[in-house]
Each structure stands twice: as C-alpha cells, then as structure tokens.
C-alpha cells in the first residue's frame, strides 16, 4: 500500500513537472491556436499552421505589436473535436493566452466555443460553416466565406444568364452536404427552382446513372455540383461523356489546379466561384485585393516551397485582423481588443474585404468570390464578377 501511494505521488508530481515544462511565463503576448495539423483535415491545418508561424515571425522581426513580441502556441487536434476542446482548456488555463486564432474544422470550432466564451477570450475561427457566427456570439469571429455565399454567387451568375431551373448533384461528404443544404435554403429567395436532385458518395467512381436522370429531366437549364475532392472531377468527365450541353457549375471546394488536372479537357467551360487568392496573377491591377494576395502567395511559396491554398489565407486574415485590432486598442485588454475586432472596417485580406458589425462577425459579402470559367486548361475571370 505504501509503495503504491508513493508511486502515485511520484507519478503525479512527475506529470505536473512535465506538463508545466516549457510554459515558463514571459512578457510576450500569447496567441493560441488549435489546428488539425495531422489527420483527415490536415489539408486545412497544415497550411494554417505554416502561415501563422511565418507571419508571427515576420511581425516579431518588425518589433511586435504595441512594442511587445508575439508568442504563438499551436496544438494539433488531429481532426478530433474532443482533443480540440482539451487543448482549448489548456490554452486558457495553462498557457493563459491573450487571444485565439484557430479551429480548422467546424466541429472543432463548435466544441471550443463554450470554453472561449466562458473565459472571455477573443476567438477568430478558421472554419467554414455559418453556425459559428449565427447566432452571433460576443467573443467569436471567423474569417472564411461560407457555403451559403458560394450558393448565392452561383445563383447570381445564373440569373445574369437568365437561367432559373437547375439540377443539383452533390457529394454526401461533410462539405457537399453542408453546401447542398445551404443552396436548397437560399434557392427560393434567389428565384431559382431546383427541378431534380441527385447525390453520390465520396468514394463513388461513376456518376453516369445520376447524370442520366438529370439529362432526361425536362426543363433543366443548368447543373450545380456542390462537392469536394475527386467526386466533382468524375462528375465533370461523365457529364461530357453523356454529351450534356447545359452549363455546369462547380463549387469553391474544387478551386484548385488539381481539379483541372483530374477533369482534363472535360473541364472546359465549367464555372465556379473562388476566392481572389487562387487567381492572384489573374486579377486586374486595379483590384483592391491584388497587392495582398500577390504578397501572401509569394511569401508562402518562398518560405514553404508549396502552392498556396485558401485555407492558409484564412489563417493570415485571422492573425492580421487580430493584430490590427490590438494596435487600434493600444492595450492588452481582451475586452477592448474584442470591441476593436468587431469594429474592423475595410480590412483587405486574402478572403475578401472585411467589414464587421455587431450583428456580423464575419464581415464578408459576395464580392469575396469571383466567378471563374475554365478555358484552355486554366482559370479565366468571368467579366463583371
């Protein structure tokens, strides 16, 4: 019994020492982050982490914020919302962070929100879904555009082409489903009728049957495909194989060079909404975002040797919105910085121009998206968008 107790005590002390190692207090401003650096969502977390590291270093090299250096603390949740919540508690209780920029997935963000709301710490999320900022929570903000906006952008483009009856084919993965729900919800308001709906699994390798149904449906004028990964590329190929001539719209989920490579010549004429970052070199010189996105992609490519993704851009925007709010607040008071984040006006970021309001903790409008068309194996801007 005695030995057991001794072992227990020793173990507990050892644990305490280990956990507190490397957390010695210093006079820096601590910015916390929980990202899905590994695991199934690492395509989000990895560029986010690299971006934060690059820019925290850059800010510190320029003297920090209000004369104080930033210290970045990143934890990897491995794509699990439970882990994210544990690390959120750790950032709050142990690291005593000043503000939080992170949360790669909506699940992780939603799991962490109660912790930051309770601790009254500014929290800028990098995840997509609308429920993060709707209803508005006083300490929670987000930088990425939402699926709803992508749907609205597509519908707006349809309207200018005088197309009102569409077919929708969507993936059943998290992204595809969330966007499909948003599209269905905003369609009536946009004056769009969804005449037929089909879906496919994330690992399906042939969508010909679903597309045949769509082809045989009378009155359909265009097809919209909310989806992520290789599914949309297969849809695009099958679409051409069936010789469907209706306009095809893809989502911002496939706004990467990889999609064009996968879909090949079939991608010709496909339209999709995308953030300015992906077409940095294609933007006209007078575009307000031109300088920011060109700079960010150059820096990111130089430091990491990898192509930019919009996800890293979200992290850049989150950090910059926070830093600018801290500079305006001129104090290390969390409530003041929170108020200043809410007052962000005209911030030009990689994701768009941010104008926050007490009722809008994202602050982006449809101008955050550009409508692209694939021509000759490359993106081209659709004029007037």
């Amino acid at each position: 019994m005695r030995t057991l107790r001794r072992v227990t005590v020793t173990a507990a002390i050892g644990l305490a020492v280990l956990l507190s190692a490397g957390q010695l207090a210093s006079a820096q401003i601590k910015i916390g982050s929980v990202l899905s650096v590994t695991g199934p969502a690492s395509f989000l977390g990895d560029p986010e982490k690299r971006t934060l590291e690059i820019y925290v270093e850059e800010i510190n090299a320029k003297g920090g914020v209000n004369g104080q250096k930033l210290q970045l603390i990143v934890y990897d949740d491995g794509g699990s919302a439970d882990n994210a919540r544990t690390f959120a508690t750790r950032l709050i209780e142990e690291d005593k962070i000043f503000a939080m920029v992170g949360g790669s997935t909506t699940g992780a963000t939603m799991a962490m929100i109660p912790a930051f709301e309770e601790a009254k710490i500014p929290f800028i999320s990098l995840a997509g879904a609308i429920q993060i900022v709707e209803p508005v929570r006083s300490w929670v903000f987000k930088t990425p555009h939402t699926d709803k906006m992508a749907c609205e952008k597509i519908f707006a483009d349809l309207k200018t082409r005088k197309l009102t009856t569409i077919a929708m084919i969507s993936g059943t993965d998290a992204f595809g489903k969330s966007m499909r729900d948003q599209c269905v919800a905003v369609a009536p308001k946009a004056g769009i009728t969804i005449a037929i709906e089909e879906s496919y699994g994330p690992r399906d390798s042939d969508m010909t049957p679903q597309l045949t149904n769509i082809k045989n449906k009378a009155g359909v004028q265009a097809v919209v495909n909310p989806g992520f990964g290789q599914g949309p590329a297969i849809v695009t190929r099958n679409y051409r194989q069936l010789a469907i001539t209706l306009p095809l719209y893809q989502s911002h989920g496939v706004a990467s060079k990889q999609f064009i490579e996968l879909a090949g010549p079939a991608a010709e004429g496909v339209r999709l909404p995308a953030a300015a970052l992906l077409i940095a070199d294609k933007l006209p010189a007078n575009d307000p975002q031109k300088a920011v996105v060109v700079n960010y992609s150059k820096t990111y490519q130089q430091k990491t040797g990898q192509a930019v993704s919009t996800f890293g851009g979200h992290a850049y925007d989150g950090l910059m919105i926070l830093v600018q709010a801290m500079q305006r607040a001129k104090s290390a008071d969390k409530a003041k910085v929170r108020d200043e984040i809410e007052k962000t006006k005209g911030y030009i970021g990689t994701g768009g121009i941010v104008n926050m309001k007490p009722t809008d903790h994202m602050g982006l409008d449809l101008s955050a998206f550009h409508m692209l068309e694939i021509k000759g194996g490359d993106w081209t801007l659709v004029p007037g968008t």
Binding site: M1, L4, R5, T8, V9, A12, I13, L15, A16, L18, L19, S20, A21, G22, T38, Y75, D76, G79, S80, A81, D82, N83, R85, T86, T89, R90, I92, E93, E94, T105, T106, G107, M110, A111, I113, P114, A129, Q131, T172, D173, A174, K177, S178, D181
Partner: protein, 314 residues
Amino acid sequence: MRTLLDTRLLPAIAVAAIVIVLPWFFPSAFYYRIGALVFIFALAVVGLNLLMGFAGQVSLGHAGFLGIGAYSVAIGPVYFGMPSWLSLFAGAVLSGLVAFLVGRPILRLKGHYLAVATLGFGLLVAIVLSNEAGWTGGPDGMSVPKLTLFSWSVRSADAWYWIAGTTFVGGFILALNLMQSPTGRSLQAIHDSEIASLVLGIDVASKKLTIFIISAMYASVAGSYLALFNGHVTPDVAGFLRSIELVAMVVLGGMGSIVGSLVGAIVLVVLPQVLTVFHEYEQALLGLIVMVFMIFLRRGIVPSLAAILQGWRK
C-alpha cells in the same frame, strides 16, 4: 487491518485513494479536465476489457456504443425534452438493447469474424450519425445541453472530475465483483477453453452475450459523460479511430486486468498532452513509446509489472 487490505477490494480502495489524492497536485482546471477524461475513458475501457480480457472477444466497434451514449444526451433533451440524466440511462438501455440484437447473431461467430462484424457495427453507427443531419447535426455535430442535477448545473471541470471519478470507482468495483461471480468465472473458463467450458455445461453464447451487453452499457455511460462534459458532440466520437484507441488502451494496460484499464487510459490520454513539447515529433514519439511498452511489457503494463515484481520477491 491486514485482512481488510488482503481482500479483493484492495485495488478498489487504492483507485478510490488515487481519485481523492490526485487533485492535491492539480494547479489548474486543465488538470481536472485531463483527470476527468482519464476516468471517462477508463470506464469505457473497463467495459471493453471485460469483453476482451475475460470473455476473449475482440470488439473493433466499441466506439459505436460511445456514440449512442453521447448522442442520447444530445438528442434526448433537445428533441424530447428529457432531462439529461434520464437520457443517459435511456442511452445505456438503448446501447444494451442494440448490443443484445447485434450480439445474438455475431457472438456465435468466432475469432476474426466477430472482430469484423463489430467493426462493421461501429462504422454503421458513425455513418448514421453523420448522415442523419436532421437529428444529429451531421458531420459538424450538435451542442449538448448541460447536465442539471437538482437545479445544480454541472459545468466546471472539477465537478466533472468528481462525477467521472466516482462513477469510475463504482464501475471498477462492479467489474471486480462481476469477475468473482459465477458469470465471471464461466467467462474466464470460456477464455481459457471454449470446448472445455461447453463440456462443463456452460452456456457459452449466452454468457458472451451478457458480457457484451454489459460492456456496451459501460461504453454508453462513458460516451454520455464525454458529451455532457464537452458540451458538443461530433460523429468522430463513434469513429473507427476511437474504437482502435479503446482497444489500444485495453491492450496497453493489460488484457484481463481491471487496474490495467485505468493505466491504459492514463497513458493514452496523458501522453499526447505531455508530448506536445516535441511539436512535429509528438505523433512519432507516441508511437515509439507505445511500441516500447508492447515490446518490453508484452502482456500489458499492469500484468507484466506484476509478474516482474513477483519475480523479485522470490
């Protein structure tokens, strides 16, 4: 005193002592959270250990029951207006029922067939949870109303530490007693030789089914606690990786060792937190440490160390 300590309740007293003594060394609420997580997972692991260590059956879908428990306390209060504690019990009963229905046919399978069948069950639960978005909020999950007991709203990490700790000690004692019961003894007999136990007149299938139901209920309660504690639940609670994590905790701590269940949970909950100081290498180190444990303490941490200690005494 001596007789008391020599009884089979000794491990239970030791575990209760750990639960009470540990908070003296906790500098912040974060440690309470880790402590609570350890006990919550240990509860599920004790249940799984009954199945794996004593009945000799592998379940690769145990997180499915964790998921049923977790979503019960999320869906019950939101859609049916049931209080959380009642939803917790309802979830446990539902898990037991599901285990009964699923277990009846699949526990007649042996060896790898059972593992594959439970694997399928776990995947099924995870798919339903992420597809039935109308009820579960889909892949992004849903928020869980706080547990309210007699108008006391349970939220803080230390409150959850005590609730999880107490429940774990209860589940621990229950498991110890179960192992000394006729059912437990027949299970151990089945584990050693299924043919011999059949000859002795033990109803092998029904005993296995009983223990499968019990272990499902353990997991369900743990899942409910996890959901209530986090305040948010996503389908990854029922995911395949979770199931593997639970199996790893059982094997690491020691199959057939109830104390080992706690040790396994401690190692796999606390280590990832400790290893964050190594940044990029944390995953690799975690794997390395687990490998070292399994190479040098082949039967699991607790049984192997016990054998070593016994060797020294002689």
